[in-house]
Symmetry: C2
Subunit: 221 residues, 2 copies
């Protein structure tokens, strides 16, 4: 049975649906129409229906959707019904922030190991896990069932260790390093380029300024 190819845009919207449905569930809402969900989420009802149709539609639309069911089904699509084992490479502020983020664990993302090159951090406890020397990461990956590697180290280190990790069977990387990793096709990389995000914000601020100045800035026609 071939699965339909789902567009990146649809995939990108699934976590947001999941988030809103979780809030609705917490507020004890039992059913919701695509129109109501549309107003809440500020997207069109037709986009919601189209998105859901990629996955079979999730139930009758006349009646509205069953919130519990929809939340659970989208959660299953997102792989949240099984645990994922993570290791974090880089125990700096960002690595520590991610290690300490309780909600990840609640959703089944369990941190199994944390590694750093800085000896001052060895043995430091983050949510009950001791930071280990970077030299041990490959052995650790070989000996444990690790689903996701989180990279919170500078780009040169990230490129080097990615090559090693991939050779040792790592298939999914959550990459915070400021570089696009070059990996074989069967390795999944999800990037969080914080600088890119900040620059997008800055672009929009700058564009607003140009508009306010009525196009006086010559660099943009």
């Amino acid at each position: 049975m071939e699965e339909k190819e789902i567009s990146q845009a649809v995939i990108g919207r699934l976590p947001r649906y999941y988030r809103y449905l979780g809030d609705l569930k917490a507020a004890h809402v039992e059913r919701i129409s695509s129109q109501e969900l549309s107003e809440l989420m500020n997207v069109t009802a037709s986009q919601i229906r189209q998105d859901f149709n990629n996955f079979g539609g999730f139930g009758q639309q006349g009646y509205g959707y069953n919130v519990d069911y929809l939340h659970e089904e989208i959660g299953k699509l997102l792989g949240l019904n099984t645990d994922h084992h993570l290791i974090i490479i880089g125990a700096g502020n960002l690595g520590q922030a991610l290690a300490n983020y309780v909600n990840f664990e609640k959703r089944g993302f369990i941190v199994k190991g944390i590694f750093d090159i800085n000896p001052a951090l060895y043995g430091k406890q983050l949510r009950g896990i001791q930071v280990k020397p970077m030299e041990e990461v490959i052995d650790f990956v070989d000996q444990n069932d690790i689903d996701i590697v989180v990279l919170t180290i500078p780009k040169n280190g990230a490129v080097d260790v990615t090559g090693q990790l991939v050779k040792h069977g790592v298939k999914a990387i959550w990459n915070f390093a400021h570089v696009d990793l070059d990996v074989p096709e069967d390795v999944i990389v999800e990037n969080v380029h914080l600088s890119d995000s900040l620059m997008k914000l800055s672009y929009k601020i700058n564009r607003r300024k140009r508009e306010e100045n009525g196009g006086k800035n010559k660099s943009v026609r």
Copy 2:
């Protein structure tokens, strides 16, 4: 003079161009063709030309692009030729990670203040800036020229403080809180929803598993 409406997708790609051009510049590459850039960045040459045409094209294509010039022009579009003053609300691990990120400052994103509700953090120095009590943030915004507010606090707090900030003239928010902020149209919000990103990764892992199992997972038709 009306500026052409640039699509979100194009805007989203600009920081990546800027990043690659910065690397090329550091490697003393003087000119590059759209074809070469295309191979380096793993996008089509025609997409590069189309993207650049939104901004006037950036010079002759037969010759290739002048790397320095292109880097600078895209930098200007991204607003990197002027400083931006930031405050960070939330001095936990993530706020500290962002405060300590040297590259932001290099690009003109200058942290002017850091605020938290936790008294244990008051007075703590982050890159020479003392963490201040949350109660002082609105006065600080009133008395200083702040371009961007970075929110690294939980969602309830984020919603509350956003209302206040907007009333006091804040026009751009870099939002790490796990919520979509409801702001007036002239306020720019750039979201970094880390959980959404992790769930996208998890979706892809899950899809690969289903494909390997040949569609045995009943939850997906």
